[in-house]
C-alpha cells in the first residue's frame, strides 16, 4: 500500500458552482502535503470530501485502501481531521470532549486513558482540562482540535489551516508537532501562509478555481519563480555603470533596482533560471566595484503562487 491517500478525478459541485474540478493526487506515508491557494480555491472542499463529510459529485477518494464513498466508516477510522471551524463542542470541557472522542473511536478503560494522556501531553493541554472549550483562547481551541485528531494515532492527518489565528510561538509549536508526526503518517495541511509550506511541507500543491495547478516539492516550486537563482547585489555609490556592464553578460536577462530591509540594491534576473552567480562575481572582481552585499535568491513561493493563481487557464 504505497499511497495512503489517493484522490481520483475528484469533482464536487455546489449547484452551478464547481468547487473542485477533476483533481487527482496521492499522498504517501512520510509526506506532508501543503494545500496552497487563495480563499475559495477549493482547499476546504477537497478536505471535506477526503474526510467523508461531503460526498463527491464524481470521482472518489481512497484512504488506506478504504473507499470513502463505499466504505466511509473504515476510511474515517484512519483519518484524524482538524476542521477549519469548530474544534470541539463548546459546552464540553476539554477532558470531557477528549473522553467522548476516545469512546467513539472505540477505546475504553486504560487504553482510552493512556491515549488521552498522550494527546494532552503532545498538545500541552494540561492547564485547561476542566475548562469548557468555549472559554478557551483560539490557540487552545486549535490544540484541542489537534488533540482529538491525534488521539487514535491515525495514519492520515487532514489539518485545515492548523495555524490560522495563532501567535508566532503557537505557530512554531504546531509546526514542530507536525514535523514530529510526519515520518509515520500521511499529512495534508491547507494554508495560505507560504512560509509554513517551506517550514513543514515536503510537497506543495497550488489550487485555484477548483483545479490543481502545481504539484512539487517547495524547492521545485521555488525554481519556477523568476527570482530563482537571481542575484541580489548592493553597491556603495552609483550602480549605473555596473548595470550596463552586467546586462552584457550572456546569462543576465534583466536588472531591477530593489529597496528592502538590506537597503537599496539591484536584483539581477537570470535567463531561464540558470545559475549566474559565477559570472556575476567574476565581473564584480574584475571591475572592482565597492560591493557591500551579494546574495543568491532561492526563489519565492509567493511569485509562483501569484503567477499560477492569476492565470488559471494558461498555467493548467
Amino acid at each position: 500500500m504505497d499511497a495512503m491517500i489517493e484522490v481520483r478525478r475528484l469533482t464536487r459541485r455546489f449547484g452551478p458552482v464547481t468547487a473542485v474540478d477533476d483533481v487527482s493526487f496521492s499522498v504517501r506515508r512520510g509526506e506532508v502535503l501543503g494545500f496552497l491557494g487563495p480563499n475559495g480555491a477549493g482547499k476546504s472542499t477537497t478536505m471535506k470530501v477526503i474526510t467523508g463529510f461531503l460526498a463527491p459529485s464524481s470521482g472518489t477518494v481512497v484512504v488506506c485502501g478504504a473507499d470513502i464513498v463505499n466504505d466511509p466508516i473504515a476510511a474515517k477510522r484512519h483519518i484524524g481531521y482538524l476542521p477549519e471551524g469548530a474544534a470541539g463542542y463548546p459546552d464540553m470541557t476539554t477532558l470531557g470532549f477528549l473522553r467522548f472522542i476516545a469512546r467513539i473511536r472505540g477505546f475504553d478503560g486504560a487504553e482510552a486513558k493512556s491515549r488521552i494522556d498522550l494527546a494532552i501531553q503532545r498538545t500541552s493541554l494540561q492547564g485547561v482540562l476542566q475548562q469548557p472549550i468555549e472559554t478557551l483562547s483560539k490557540g487552545f481551541k486549535c490544540r484541542v482540535g489537534l488533540a482529538q485528531a491525534l488521539l487514535h494515532d491515525p495514519d492520515v492527518l487532514i489539518l485545515d489551516e492548523p495555524t490560522d489565528g495563532l501567535d508566532p510561538n503557537q505557530k512554531h509549536e504546531v509546526r514542530t508537532l507536525i514535523t514530529e508526526l510526519a515520518p509515520t503518517k500521511a499529512i495534508i495541511i491547507s494554508t495560505h501562509i507560504l512560509e509554513e509550506v517551506e517550514a513543514v511541507c515536503t510537497r506543495a500543491t497550488i489550487l485555484a478555481h477548483g483545479k490543481l495547478l502545481a504539484d512539487g516539492t517547495p524547492q521545485e516550486l521555488e525554481a519556477r519563480s523568476r527570482h530563482h537563482n537571481a542575484v541580489r547585489l548592493s553597491i556603495a555609490g552609483s550602480s549605473d555603470d555596473a548595470v550596463t556592464a552586467l546586462l552584457r553578460l550572456p546569462g543576465v536577462l534583466s536588472i531591477e533596482p530593489v529597496t528592502d530591509a538590506e537597503g537599496a540594491g539591484i536584483m539581477i534576473f537570470p535567463r531561464d533560471g540558470r545559475a549566474i552567480v559565477g559570472e556575476v562575481t567574476d565581473l564584480v572582481r574584475t571591475a572592482g566595484w565597492p560591493i557591500t552585499g551579494l546574495r543568491v535568491e532561492r526563489g519565492r513561493l509567493d511569485d509562483v503562487f501569484r503567477a499560477v493563481t492569476a492565470r488559471p487557464s494558461a498555467a493548467a
Partner: protein
C-alpha cells in the same frame, strides 16, 4: 450500536451541562401542575385518576418539545461541530438515533418527575394504576413522535428559532388534525377518504384512546411509525443540508 450509545451519553450529558435541562424540567413540572390543578380542576372532579393531568400533555408537548428538539441539529450546524461529528467513524443511523434517543430519554426524565401526581392520587383514593401506567407509556410515545418531528425539522436550518417555530407548527397540525374544527373544515368538500386519513393522523385521538387505559397496538404502532418516518427524513435532511 456502541457508537449510538456513546452519542446518546454525550447528548444526554450535554443537556445537563447547560441550564437548559433544569429550566426545561422546572417549567414542564410547573406547567403540568398548573394546567392540571387550575384548568383540569383536579380536586373538584373528585375522581381518583390522572385524566386531568394527562389530557393536557399534547398541549404541553406542543410548546415544550420544540424547545428541546430545536438544538439537536441546528446547533451542530450553526457552531460547525457537525463537520467534526460526521467525520467521526459513525454511521448516519447511529448519529440520528443517538441524538434522538438522548432527547427522548430526557423528556422521559421530565415525565418521570411528575410522579408526585401519581403519589397524590394514590394517597387520596384508589386509582387504577394500570391505566396510569398505560397513560405514562402513551405520553412517552407521543413525546417521542413530537421529538422525531422536531429533530428532522431542526436539521433543516441553522437557526434554532426557525426550528422551534417550524416544529411547533407541524406538531400543532398533527395534534389538531382530528379535531372537529379541522374535520368540519374538510368535510364540506374533501372526499371521505381524505377526511378519514387526516383524522387518523391526529396525535390527540391516538393519545385519548391510550388514556382510556388500553395501549392498543394500533396506537403504539402509529406513534412508532411517526418516529421511524421522521427519523428517516431526519437522516436524509442532514445529508442534504450539511454542506450549506
Amino acid at each position: 450500536m456502541r457508537s449510538t450509545y456513546v452519542i446518546f451519553c454525550r447528548e444526554l450529558a450535554s443537556y445537563f451541562a447547560t441550564p437548559l435541562a433544569y429550566v426545561f424540567i422546572v417549567i414542564f413540572l410547573v406547567l403540568a401542575g398548573s394546567l392540571t390543578f387550575f384548568m383540569g380542576n383536579f380536586f373538584d372532579r373528585g375522581q381518583d385518576d390522572l385524566v386531568a393531568f394527562f389530557s393536557f400533555h399534547p398541549w404541553l408537548y406542543l410548546v415544550l418539545i420544540p424547545a428541546l428538539s430545536m438544538r439537536l441539529w441546528a446547533e451542530e450546524r450553526k457552531s460547525g461541530t457537525i463537520e467534526l461529528f460526521l467525520t467521526l467513524p459513525v454511521s448516519m443511523t447511529a448519529a440520528v438515533l443517538g441524538k434522538f434517543l438522548a432527547a427522548w430519554a430526557f423528556s422521559g426524565i421530565a415525565l418521570a418527575l411528575t410522579f408526585p401526581f401519581w403519589i397524590t392520587v394514590n394517597i387520596f383514593g384508589h386509582p387504577d394504576n394500570g391505566v396510569i401506567l398505560a397513560s405514562y407509556i402513551g405520553s412517552l410515545l407521543m413525546a417521542g413522535a413530537y421529538l422525531a418531528i422536531g429533530s428532522a425539522l431542526s436539521a433543516l436550518t441553522k437557526n434554532q428559532v426557525i426550528a422551534f417555530v417550524l416544529t411547533a407548527a407541524v406538531c400543532f397540525a398533527f395534534t389538531v388534525s382530528g379535531s372537529t374544527m379541522v374535520l368540519g373544515f374538510l368535510q364540506g368538500w374533501a372526499p371521505a377518504g381524505l377526511v378519514e386519513a387526516v383524522s387518523s393522523f391526529s396525535f390527540f385521538s391516538h393519545f385519548s384512546t391510550i388514556l382510556r387505559g388500553v395501549i392498543d397496538l394500533r396506537d403504539a404502532v402509529f406513534f412508532l411509525s411517526v418516529m421511524a418516518l421522521f427519523l428517516y427524513a431526519n437522516a436524509v435532511i442532514v445529508d442534504l443540508k450539511k454542506a450549506d
